[in-house]
Symmetry: C2
Subunit: 143 residues, 2 copies
DNA sequence: ATTTTAAATGCAAATCATTCGCATAAGCTT
DNA sequence: AAGCTTATGCGAATGATTTGCATTTAAAAT
């Protein structure tokens, strides 16, 4: 039912333990809910998915856990237009997003060339890029 | 005191009238406050700047006016990280933004090549881009 | 210029997403 | 198993933005 090998969960858990992050029932429920998500869920969506594994999880804990996971670099927070923040596991190489305006679907893509150009632009302006955000909003081409 | 030729205000006004937008004292105060801003003010900042011209302006009206102006394509709304939305007059050619993480300064830039690559990527994914958002977050290079 | 009519305004209350305070519960160290 | 420290759930607080409503006002009609 999950779209990822469950092995990743154990890895994530030990990585987090190694960083001194306490592993609680709720945190594991949230983490596995996220690992089992093929989309980019909101905190609210993650809450209901996590509750399937542990009904005691509260929304506040989802937010607090996500903060911890984002701090540790385990999770990425995206703020697309419209909805609240959307989260994803940071276990894939860097990518940007294309959002389907009709369905809300989020498609991942990446472009070495765009990244390179961004660096060049920042360089010319005398800046070092710490991070960036690139989102394309569009609709499927009518053929 | 303004960084733009005031001529633009009259143009904006007649364009808006032509679109059937009612011109009120408050709307003019907000519009001219924005035209006189060299930065990317928030609604709150715009409120205090507009109040210098017309003290009767309220925050609700700033928001309502900005909505109208965004709808009409006169104003662009940006949602950078951290603060609330920031606005700018849509009288310049398209550009993206680099945000200085230390000062909050917003620098505009544009890259034909990046735009082109975005189009190509969307094309490959079967999409037409309606709009996009590209923001670089960084700090000045230590020399 | 005055009336008319639909739309804009100010104010305060309502939303929405997210955060926080606090008393209780539960990890992790020994 | 005991103790210390951090995490949790709950509900209240926050911050940005929106909305309902009674009142004012811009622009159209007279």
């Amino acid at each position: 039912m999950t779209h990822r090998d469950p092995k990743i969960l154990n890895e994530l858990e030990s990585d987090l333990r190694a960083e001194g992050v306490r592993i609680t029932r709720q945190r594991m429920a949230i983490l596995s809910a996220l690992a089992g998500s093929a989309d980019h869920p909101t905190a609210e969506e993650l809450l209901s998915r996590a509750r399937e594994k542990d009904p005691s999880v509260s929304l506040a804990t989802v937010y607090r856990t996500l903060s911890v996971l984002v701090e540790s670099g385990t999770v990425l927070r995206n703020e697309f237009e419209g909805t609240g923040a959307r989260f994803e596991l940071a276990d894939k190489p860097h990518h940007d997003h294309l959002i389907d305006l009709d369905t809300g679907d989020v498609i991942e893509f990446s472009s070495k060339r765009i990244e390179k150009l961004q660096e060049e632009i920042a360089e010319e302006l005398g800046y070092d890029i710490v991070y960036h955000r690139l989102e394309l909003y569009g609709r499927t081409k009518k053929t």
